[in-house]
């Protein structure tokens, strides 16, 4: 039975990994095709280049090869985890861009997630426990506000008040912990609000369940009821959302990174496309997709830990 279970698990894991690889291949292929069908190229310039010069450039980057050959070369390099050089910043490889950009985005993202989780969960739980009282109203008004203010406006406001008016925080750039505060708040606002609302409604629902009544009847302390039985069950939707949130936030935000001049990964999603920097477009797309799929995979695994009723492998198969 145990062996059988382990085998099932291994099979499940293999299946997931194969799916991920297939999906990645599909993404690479589609991106490759779409990218090359858009007008322009990495060496477009307002001033027309002499034909000789253009040919030299295209020779150097093998852009004269047939697309099929370029595609196969790319896949071959990809298997060796080589994402190629950037066309625009030729001294930088895409691997290097991800290696330097991702940690910055990830640190900022992790700070934002930590903030969103702590504040969002607390606000949600308190609102649910103090339903229709002032704590609830306050938290939900704040949540609705930060939910509806666009991130670039919020970033601008934060910068205006804390950096320009009060002069207590630097307005932009990256390197010191002071510089991390404003972008963290900007980035965390929406997820915090979302988590607070999610947690509140989920918690309200759970608190009306029979087993909570049972727990109360058994005379368990309010603390144990709320934490052990309430929160643990109510937090599942938040965990689902977390998989998405982690990818979304850790991978960097174009808006926040642009406004606060942070050298993360976020800017590359947009700039690489504007520059037709083919290898960077592909590289960051692949990295983002792989990360997103892995995150979803981990979330699925986490369910099992949090909720014993959920099994990775369907019982009936065993």
């Amino acid at each position: 039975m145990v062996n059988n279970g382990v085998l099932q698990l291994v099979q499940y894991l293999l299946r997931r990994i194969v799916t991920i690889i297939l999906a990645l291949w599909l993404i690479v292929t589609l991106t490759f095709m779409i990218m090359h069908s858009v007008p322009g190229g990495p060496f477009a310039s307002e001033k027309k280049l002499p034909d000789v010069i253009k040919r030299n450039l295209e020779d150097r980057y093998h852009l004269n090869d047939p697309l099929s050959k370029q595609y196969i070369n790319y896949l071959n390099n990809l298997i060796h985890f080589d994402l190629g050089p950037s066309f625009r910043y030729e001294y930088r490889t895409v691997n290097d861009i991800i290696k330097t950009g991702f940690p910055v985005s990830a640190i900022l993202g992790a700070l934002a997630i930590a903030f969103a989780l702590v504040v969002g969960l607390l606000a949600g739980i308190i609102s649910a426990l103090r339903q229709n009282r002032w704590q609830d109203y306050l938290a939900m008004v704040l949540a609705t506000l930060s939910f509806s203010v666009p991130i670039f406006i919020l970033s601008g406001l934060l910068m205006y008040f804390f950096a320009y008016k009060l002069q207590i925080l630097p307005s932009a750039m990256w390197g010191t912990w002071q510089q991390a505060i404003l972008p963290t708040l900007a980035l965390a606002a929406l997820p915090t609000a979302f988590i607070a609302r999610l947690m509140r409604s989920s918690m309200l629902e759970v608190l009306q369940q029979d087993y909570i009544k049972t727990a109360r009847a058994k005379g368990l302390s309010e603390r144990v009821i709320v934490l052990r039985h309430g929160v643990r069950n109510a937090v599942l939707p938040v965990v689902t959302y977390l998989g998405f949130l982690v990818t979304d936030v850790l991978m960097g935000s174009f808006v926040v990174e642009s406004i606060f001049a942070i050298p993360g990964l976020g800017m590359w999603y947009v700039n690489s496309i504007l520059n037709r920097d083919y290898t960077v477009i592909l590289g960051v797309t692949i990295f983002f997709s792989a990360f997103l799929m892995l995150m979803n995979f981990f979330v699925d695994l986490t369910y099992v830990v949090i909720d014993p009723r959920i099994k990775l492998v369907d019982r009936k198969d065993v």
């Binding site: 007008p39 001033k47 504040v119 607390l122 704590q135 910068m159 925080l169 307005s171 050298p263």
Partner: protein, 534 residues
Amino acid sequence: MKRILLALMVLAAFVLAGCGDDKTKDTAGKANGPQLIRYNVGTEPKTLDPAKSTGSPEATIELQMLDGLTRYDANQEIKRAVAESWDISKDSLTYTFKLRDAKWSNGDLVTAHDFVYSWLRAMAKETASEYAYQFFYIKGAEDYNSGKGKKEDVAIKALDDKTLQVVLNAPAPQFLGLTAFQTYFPVNQKVVEGNPNWFTDPKTYVCNGPFKMVSWEHNQKIVMEKNPDYWDAKSVKLEKLEIYLIENLDTSFNMFKNGQLDQMNEIAAQELTALKDSKELKIMPDASVYFYRFNVTRKPFNDVKVRKALALAIDRKALVESVTKGGQKQAYAFVPFGFKDADGKDFRRNGDNYFKEDLEEAKRLLAGAGFPDGKGFPRATIMFNTQGNHQKVAEAIQQMWKKNLGIEVTIQNVEWQVYEDRETKLDYDIERAGWSPDYLDPMTFIDMFVTNGGNNKTGWSNREYDRLVSEGKSTGDQKVRMESMHRAEKILMDEMPVTPLFFYTHPIMIKENLKNVIVPPFATDADFKWAYVE
């Protein structure tokens, strides 16, 4: 729970208040040492290898660290730099440069061989430099670049360590100025051959200019300090120069107001009105033109009467005063101000305006073309790239044509590369365009519109115009050259395949205590060689 929340809030308040103290000291500016300028160039450089860089941000950064044979001064005069003197042969083809005693920051001497090596490297096919064509004036350069000719046949020679000789294909008075240009900057052979990515690392970025690189944080800043080995180090007063690489204009502006920056290269157009009375806003000259192209291969723009009618019905004064608001000058000719004529005066002032706005004339022309009061005029589109003020300018012109001529046009914004693609394929009716000079001579504007020229992009062709351009390019006689360019420009404005709208300006923000910063009208955005903080 409440208590935890309260505790968190108190903690947050402490954190916010706590960092306040040290930050204000940090941003005070003067605390960082007296001779420091913090300048935002506005973007991460694509490269800092002078042979391969093309943009003005790259050129600006390199100009602080490298010195060519010549260098422009505050009046845009070509001054001696590494070259101590030069001699130009009677036929204007052979240039002989005498080099001064100058050193690299690693102690090596800057020799004529360095220039030969650097220039040949920049034009080599393998280097695949976009700006290799800046060398095509030199005999044998184009053939070598295309792979048809040999390296040895390029007419650049080091006669000895201190003497460099160059032979041109045809007279090119702009050549001397080009030697102050990034593509013509020298690099140190030993260093470059030792490490192909030498320019990415401050340790291997060997300089011969006023400053040397200390650090380079991508998308953040490049820090430089005074180069004590520079031949003219006594003229350099600045101890430290920080060049910021921040793209977002609002962020940059906030940092300037906040005291984190002393100078910024560009200012968002919407801020200009509020800054009208600010002493920190400076409107610098920019030798570039903003114009509209007509696609003369399409009806009705194949008719010169239609093109002229449209051009005469634009209120350029209103455009610069209420739309662009950056002190731009109305343009009634194509070549901007700032180019010297044969008599030493300004080319534009000598040439003056070629047309003026005239509603009656415009209506008469339009009727003559078969569209009285705009009746029957096909619906045309103004295409522009999605950037800056282009939309506002297009909307204003759309209104003017509707009100003045009864013509309805639509406006369409497209992403920059799509716009490039479509203009090259002549897939437009009317399009917005701009042009900034490659070198300080009117020819960089005039030779755009020769038949099938790569930058013509209108389909327009005129044999007399072509003849005048080739006449101007084949002689070293300034008088003849300038005269043929004036005549060519007149033809261009008579035929109107393009209609100029205004001459650009370069609004910058600069702290009042910064002195002697040069902001050139083209090619580079700033030169800090002589700059200091008061």
